[in-house]
């Protein structure tokens, strides 16, 4: 007599998620209200900042006589959701890869009599929550600002959470199918395949857009309807009627205008497409998941060839560190470059920003006035700074926590723990400099900004690279999490969130001191010129900025050093 065939329904997994969430919340409360309050305040700060920026943006558009319920704003909303869809496909796929193929939980569930598609569905929900968190944090304040600016009624606010819930389903399911397909068909070359797909998609998009933009008449004026239509024509693909991202934008616009029937129709379409895509991905999982896992296990025997990589030479260029720290630094670089999950998303942002700056160069010099260029230049500095801040929080903050697992090795080496921290900071500074300074230079040259500002922005970029690196590395040692193995989970914990908020505060303070005075004075002048006494404001402010950077470097590193010395593993 054999045991009966069980049928563990989705309710079992739902109960599992609820219980885990409840215990995590209890554990969080047990760690004190300060921590809970810090997380709430931190998230609130980010949301309020995004909300205010969006509100100012919509107010500006209204002043330009652009109807917020009209087609141009609709197209911008479509572009916004289309871009988010693209990011969700990649981030959903990458996170799902870890949950399906590199997780003890998945192996546990697969050894139980549970159908493969249900294991997939369970892991999918978890990865969807993680990959959508940033989307919610970004989109919620923006859409709230949109609703308030437009004077939207209750229907808009009622339907918005439903659109939020359903929108990520289709792109994340597509990411899941891509992930399953890659592992199923190319298990030994999945890293190369992933890179190839990301690069291909980005390049194809850029070539398509670039070709269109290149045909634009340089020097066209923004009041020129024909030129505006040409620009909009090249992004009109985002309004294709078959795209769920378009349904989201369209449905929200109808809801904002109080149009009940079309809003619900788009919501229903989103629901149908999302669930259909999810069912398709679960069906693909029932076919490919276990086979892919099986084929993936073969990769371990593949011979690994050590090749020369330029990045490995970087530690030897860092002055003032000993051989042991250099070895640690080299280890960090090798670990970083061999894990595409670490740098894949950064690469996407880097290329997108590069493309954005290129299009500025092509479109703006003959088009817009000095005031707009001045504002764009300051905004670009903020954007690069925010990316640095997010990257440091995501990749640098967890590094010390991850070393806790290897303390049996590092802890016995004859160099102080302080050296670990300096190594992490040096690693971060090198990456930040490589990322930020060329982008800032390109942005300022594209906008035709004067050399003094270029130098000032380069100085601000250096201060950001050092300050944000020290904040992330130092605070990573102040609030380490030696239990967790997943760096993304360490980054979104209490310490990681607080570090991110402090990083944003530092970014605002530094840009406010180093760059903003120049931009304000040049903006008031109207043509980029300001009287000589302007330097009497700019120079001391920049010095104060340098002082702020000094504090951002020394204080967290000192606190991290103290905590690391006292730390028991």
């Amino acid at each position: 007599m054999t045991n009966p065939l069980p049928d563990a329904g989705l309710g079992v997994f739902l109960l599992l998620r609820l219980r885990q969430t409840r215990h995590q919340a209890t554990a969080l409360r047990g760690e004190g209200m300060v921590k809970v309050a810090s997380i709430v305040v931190s998230c609130g700060c980010v949301a309020v900042f995004a909300f205010v920026v969006a509100l100012i943006g919509f107010h500006f558009l209204q002043k330009q006589k652009l109807p917020l319920g009209g087609d141009i704003i609709g197209l911008l909303l479509d572009m916004f959701f289309f871009t988010l869809s693209g990011l969700l496909v990649f981030s959903g796929g990458l996170i799902l890869y870890g949950s399906l193929y590199d997780s003890q939980e998945a192996a546990f569930l697969l050894s139980k009599p549970v159908p493969d598609d249900r294991v997939y569905a369970h892991q999918f929900v978890g990865s969807l929550a993680v990959s959508s968190a940033a989307f919610v944090l970004l989109a919620l304040p923006l859409l709230l600002a949109y609703g308030i600016s437009l004077g939207a009624g209750w229907l808009y606010y009622l339907l918005m959470p439903l659109f939020f819930l359903l929108f990520p389903l289709a792109p994340a399911s597509l990411g899941g199918i891509v992930c399953l397909g890659l592992v199923r068909w190319m298990p030994n070359r999945r890293k190369e395949a992933l890179i190839a797909i990301i690069v291909f998609v980005i390049l194809a998009g850029l070539v398509w857009l670039g070709a269109g933009l290149w045909r634009l008449r340089p020097g066209a004026n923004s009041s020129d309807d024909e030129a505006l239509n040409e620009v909009l024509g090249h992004v009109r693909f985002a309004s294709a009627k078959i795209l769920p991202s378009h349904w989201t934008g369209r449905g929200l616009r109808h809801a904002a205008r109080g149009e009940f029937e079309p809003a619900f129709r788009y919501l229903a379409m989103l629901f149908s497409a999302g669930t259909a895509m999810f069912c398709l991905s679960a069906w693909v999982a029932s076919l490919w998941y276990r086979i892919g896992l099986d084929r993936l296990s073969q990769r371990g025997r593949k011979a690994f060839k050590q090749r020369f990589v330029w990045m490995d030479r970087l530690p030897s260029l860092v002055p003032g560190i000993g051989p042991a720290e250099r070895a640690l630094l080299l280890k960090d670089f090798r670990t970083f470059r061999r894990d595409p999950r670490q740098w894949g998303q950064m690469l996407v942002f880097l290329v997108l920003l590069g493309f954005y700056f290129s299009s500025l160069r092509r479109m703006f010099p003959g088009d817009i006035g000095w005031v707009f260029r001045n504002g764009l230049s300051l905004m670009n500095l903020m954007v690069v700074g925010m990316l640095l801040c997010a990257s440091c929080g995501r990749f640098i903050f967890p590094l010390i926590s991850l070393e806790g697992k290897r303390v049996w090795l590092l802890g016995l080496t004859p160099f102080p723990r302080w050296a670990w921290l300096r190594g992490k900071m040096a690693f971060s500074v090198i990456l930040c400099i490589l990322f930020a300074l060329p982008l800032l230079l390109y942005s300022d040259i594209s906008l035709g900004m004067p050399p003094t500002l270029v130098l000032l922005h380069q100085f601000a970029g250096l201060c950001l690279a050092f300050g944000l690196s020290a904040l992330s590395a130092g605070l990573g040692a102040v609030w380490p999490n030696f239990r967790e193995k997943d760096p993304s989970k360490i980054a979104v914990g209490y310490g990681g969130t607080l570090s991110l908020i402090l990083g944003l505060a530092y970014l605002l303070g530094l840009v406010g001191l180093v760059a903003a005075p120049w931009h304000i004075l040049a903006g008031l002048g109207g043509n980029g010129q300001f009287p000589w006494w302007g330097w009497l404001i700019i120079s001391p402010a920049a010095l104060l900025g340098a002082g702020l950077a000094f504090l951002a470097i020394t204080v967290p590193m000192h606190l991290g050093r103290l905590n690391l010395q006292e730390q028991e593993f």
Binding site: L5, P6, R19, H23, K112, P113, R301
Partner: protein
């Protein structure tokens, strides 16, 4: 579901598994009867874990078939896994669940009706002495507490076949003794146990039959007496194991050349 009548609870027929150009397991055939404790020995990298993963359906054989209670793992995996439990060398527990909640989850995954689940949870809780800590979050468990909880979960649905990988690692002598008693009890009630271990003392004490694998090939299989005779050595299992695996590696080194 139709019960498949078979004298064997586990059948491996000509099972091979290849990783790229490397054969981790080659032409492995085994039949394990009801209530038999089969110990699987071999040096590191010999193919033990690969065999266990194939037996649990986590890997597929490159060639050959594996049946659990008559159900082919390749074509009838769900039914096969419904009759099997696996205790890995690094046991998995959900860190943010209590021990009791983990047991309830496993009972649900195996489709136990609520009443039977309650009875079985009460039984294994007593059996493994989980009362004191079963309402705590498993994150705070010691290695011994984790191991006991994992064993309790593995036996909840009264599996016909129990696969155990390195169960004695990190356990204190009292826990090892309790584990041995447990394995004996299970065998006495008809459970087939597939035990992979480097603890040769435990194996010698408990195993009905022992299989020795090296370089993916089963080089010896039988009772301790049969292995002694094969090795032409009347000593402890450790000496028999070393002699057989040295011979086996020599043979395969020749093959490889």
């Amino acid at each position: 579901m139709t019960a498949i009548e078979t004298p064997y609870q586990v059948q491996l027929e000509g099972v091979s598994r290849r990783y790229g150009d490397h054969w981790a397991v080659r032409d492995l055939s085994l039949d394990l009867k009801r209530g038999e404790l089969f110990a699987f020995l071999g040096p590191n990298g010999a193919g033990k874990t690969t065999t266990i993963k194939m037996l649990c359906g986590l890997l597929r054989p490159t060639a050959g078939t594996i049946k659990v209670c008559g159900h082919d793992l390749a074509t009838d995996g769900l039914a096969a896994r419904a009759n099997l439990s696996y205790v890995p060398d690094l046991p998995f527990l959900y860190e943010h669940l209590t021990g009791l909640e983990f047991l309830e989850l496993v009972a649900q995954l195996h489709g136990l009706d609520p009443e039977r689940a309650r009875d079985r949870i009460a039984t294994v809780t007593r059996q493994f002495e989980l009362e004191k800590f079963r309402d705590q979050i498993t994150m705070r468990y010691s290695h011994g507490m984790r191991q006991r909880t994992v064993f309790a979960a593995a036996l909840l649905h009264e599996p016909k076949v129990l696969v155990v990988d390195e169960p004695t690692v990190g356990l204190d002598p009292r826990s090892v003794r309790q584990l041995k008693d447990l394995l004996r009890e299970l065998v006495a009630t008809g459970t087939t146990i597939f035990l992979s271990s480097h603890s040769l003392d435990v194996v010698q004490e408990l195993a009905d039959r022992i299989g020795i694998i090296t370089s993916g090939k089963l080089i010896g299989c039988g009772t301790i007496e049969e292995l002694r005779s094969q090795a032409s050595h009347a000593g402890h299992l450790e000496d028999v194991f070393l002699r057989l695996t040295e011979d086996g590696e020599g043979d395969h080194a020749g093959e490889g050349a």
